[in-house]
Symmetry: C2
Subunit: 530 residues, 2 copies
């Protein structure tokens, strides 16, 4: 298999979707939307794409670590949102980075910072490039003479393991699979599996507050980060390795979610776990969605902390061939490295008794297939989106978190208004919901929109739907993002959500740490000249 | 019983220590240090204390909410550290606040801010006044014409309960017992019990990142805070109620630990829990401390999350009459509101098998007495310190957190160098250790120093010991405080611990939010003219 990644979309160039469930999903969607099950749009050969010449010259100090190779520049022009993929498929790359840097040391980063400050350039800290919110795109501001995208891929080493405290120090450019491979000899795992896992980096996870795959407890990178090292225009800082501290506001929590506007994350100590030895899962089917939500809430508030507690609504279950296709499906699982977990599962199930769910037994073939399908689907889903877009089917998601008291009204309104917008805008399509994470005080619902698109209008069509959803999110007290970050795309909504207190903190800190505003302009906070 | 609190020390004026264990402790200490078991020093009658006149006049707008009553000013001059108590007992109050304000509304706070800005005064956000780090003391800087201590006690209401999400909105001046009493009708609890519980407030807990009584998981106020409201010189902000969010750096985590330098915390939504129904405890005795530490670490890394996991070293156990007086004692407990916890206890115990501890059975009289003694002692300990100081016995603590890999060397060095300093400085005394909290990556050790002091030299004697400990803490990679905050006293060490990154964030944010520097000057970061 080629290890060359697509310049225009997710993952490797010649990857073929092999998850059975996803193939079923494609067939189902094509039939439901009356679209031919065949790739209709292919990307241009890379040499045919129009590409602007670099707008400035490098100096000798940094030219050795910078590339103006066509593939490098094209593949660093966009993240991986629907509009990114569509533009990529169309061959539209009007605002590429002028160069892509591949620094190998903190000293390289400092040289890039100096050069950018002296020449009024913007620098984009680039991890795996999996942003779906415009987090790695060059600024369009004319204030800057150009942009260098700074790919951290050479910062890929495991530097130190502390087996006693179960922690490891990694360079921040390490990708998910390489991180786990490096830990394998120690029988330890970070146990952090965002959907982007294969093509995202530790530094990217930290900068964007990545959510892991697990439903409760230690799943967000926020909780797994012990200390962090960052190169800013004002120097290099490293926070102290501490299991806990009450000394001032948490330093790590300010780096977490900073999306590259303060500096480059170069290293981190992360908290590891023993690999789970005990696992158990089950599937519960509920006739009424309301019952399923209440049961899920009871489990979320029980202190049992399931590793999986994924409530999938009936339409999404149906479209994925999960359960009986007619019920809301709760995928429930427990894991532990030290103790059997069957009792926990039984306790969780008994909390649902009053809602009388149908349990599909553990050993039932259906369930193991469900569980396997789910895992395959989870990691291959981003490939699916590319392929569907090539068939002119929009398959995009938005996600949030909201307290339990507001969820019912919120969910009904989102589903009804987004469904209406889908029909008005696209003619056919639907919206579904699952919970990715559950907290004692609320769920993190994850919505999938599938719709037939009109060639040439995909971006505007999706934007209309996304705007309807985003406005409801802000209006009804949810968050504009639970684990996809803010970037440039969510910023107008984030600015309504963010308190004036934090706006003052972020802008004052930005002025102090990056006085020339060279780092990732337009992300998270407004650019100087806006 | 009087509800008048001591102007010079902890709690109510006529409180008598009634915990049997503490009485035993007093006898033991007097004997061990060869000190007479009798109060030797009494506070002065309040009217005999020399008190400077207020250095400025109030205007009509705020005079109605301000007091210059002798008791109010004296009782707001200090926090509750050893040096605070000693100065109080001596009747030394050279730098009292000029007034104490008792605002009733956010508008009152804004009037105070305006008055302070116009007249170059400092304002001290004052919760319960339980700071042991100089967090509520007036500045000595001549830059200010005076100080108003702003007591938040009228902000004491429960405003809203969301039973579905199990959250409540409180005004931030509410004290621990009042907060729990207000929640009782809902069968909900915050389950946050810092040792200061009786005389500290929700707003104080947030400002100082209070640690709760429980050993693992949701015990710190950091994790229990859902949203917060703050009045700053630049306006009022309220963060959004969210169970989780990935939109930018966490707003709450910047308020947490800000120690009043950015504004007054006026309200907060907190995450509640059902009251535990299932509880079980046991006591394990280990002959070797090293074994006890390793066993505790295994439990901390097991994912079992005990509510109590308090490893008490043999000397502290002996001085408290715990266990057999000759072993390290691990007090282990589990609690749950939804499920039996006996299995968890058994699993935790079996993790210790290889170290062959002696278990004192649950139903053994000794243990229940131990558990009760412990609770009584825990809440009454601050009273004990006052009484011992009145007998010229120093009984003070310092605390930290450190990763497991470093703990052994750290603990040995701290114990040996502090013990040496105690003997050099005081002639007789000792140091003991217990863990207050345990994390997968390290413990939070809490050290108690007991020593005979010389009348008139108590402060200098303690300061020498504290400096030895603080220097080792900083040098060996621990934190200057795990749950006592920074204040003015820890600041010189905190400045060595804090990364330049956070220094820039804090000072830039301070300049932006409080440009005249009126809020709690000298706490956390240096004053303008330093």
């Amino acid at each position: 298999m080629s290890t060359q990644r697509k310049y225009w979309g997710w993952g490797y160039e010649d990857h073929k979707i092999d998850a059975k469930a996803l193939k079923k999903t494609i067939s189902f969607l094509c039939q439901a939307l009356n679209v031919e099950n065949k790739i209709a749009q292919h990307p241009l050969p890379i040499e045919e794409i129009e590409l602007r010449e670099p707008r400035f010259q490098l100096n000798n100090t940094i030219s050795m670590i910078c590339s103006h190779d066509r593939y490098d520049r094209l593949s660093h022009t966009y993240g991986k949102s629907t509009s990114d993929i569509v533009k990529g498929l169309r061959g539209e790359f009007p605002n590429p980075p002028d160069y892509v840097a591949f620094p190998k040391s903190e000293s390289d980063l400092q040289k890039l910072i100096t050069f950018a400050e002296e020449n009024t350039l913007s620098l984009i800290p680039y991890g795996g490039g999996s942003s779906v919110v415009g987090g790695v795109e060059p600024t369009k501001s004319t204030r800057y003479k150009g942009t260098i995208s700074v790919d951290m891929k050479h910062f890929d080493q495991l530097l130190e393991v502390d087996e006693t405290s179960r922690c490891a120090r990694f360079q921040a450019g390490v990708y998910g699979p390489a991180l786990d491979a490096a830990l394998k000899p120690y029988n330890l795992t970070l146990r952090h599996f965002p959907q982007s896992y294969e093509f995202s980096t530790l530094g990217g996870w930290i900068a964007t507050r990545a959510g892991g795959h697990y439903a409760t407890l230690y799943t967000h990178i926020d909780d797994l980060l012990e200390s962090v090292r960052i190169v800013t225009p004002k120097g290099i800082s490293e926070t102290r390795r501490l299991p806990g501290s009450g000394a001032g506001p948490s330093e790590e929590r300010i780096v977490l979610g900073s999306e590259g506007i303060f500096g480059f994350i170069t290293e981190a100590w992360v908290r590891l776990q023993d690999s789970p030895k005990y696992k158990t899962t089950t599937t519960l089917l509920f006739k009424k969605y309301e019952d399923a939500v209440n049961a899920t809430r009871k489990i979320a508030q029980s202190g049992l902390f399931p590793s999986n507690c994924r409530l999938v609504d009936s339409l999404e279950s149906f479209s994925m061939g999960l359960g009986d296709g007619n019920s809301s499906v709760l995928l429930l699982g427990f894991e532990s490295a030290s103790c059997p977990v069957n009792d926990k599962l039984n306790q969780a199930i008994s909390l649902c008794d009053e809602f009388n769910p149908k349990q599909i037994q553990d050993k039932d073939q259906q369930t193991s297939e469900d569980a396997n399908s789910w895992k395959q689907s989870f990691l291959q889903a981003p490939y699916l989106r590319d392929e569907l877009l090539q068939m002119h089917i929009l398959a995009e998601t938005f996600e949030t978190a909201i307290t339990w008291d507001k969820f019912d009204a919120f969910n009904k309104r989102i589903k009804s208004e987004v469904q209406k917008c889908i029909l008005d805008t696209c003619g056919s399509g639907f919206i579904t919901c699952r919970f990715t994470h559950v907290y004692p005080d609320g769920p993190a619902p994850y919505y999938t929109v599938v719709a037939k698109t009109e060639a040439g209008k995909e971006i505007e069509q999706w934007q209309k739907i996304k705007d309807v959803a985003s406005n409801i999110i802000i209006e009804m007290g949810a968050t504009i993002t639970h684990h996809h970050a803010v970037g440039k795309d969510h910023r107008p909504y984030y600015e309504q959500q963010r308190s004036p207190f934090l706006t003052n903190i972020l802008t004052a800190s930005k002025d102090r740490l990056d006085p020339k505003g060279i780092l990732n302009p337009g992300v998270l906070i407004s650019e100087r000249d806006e």
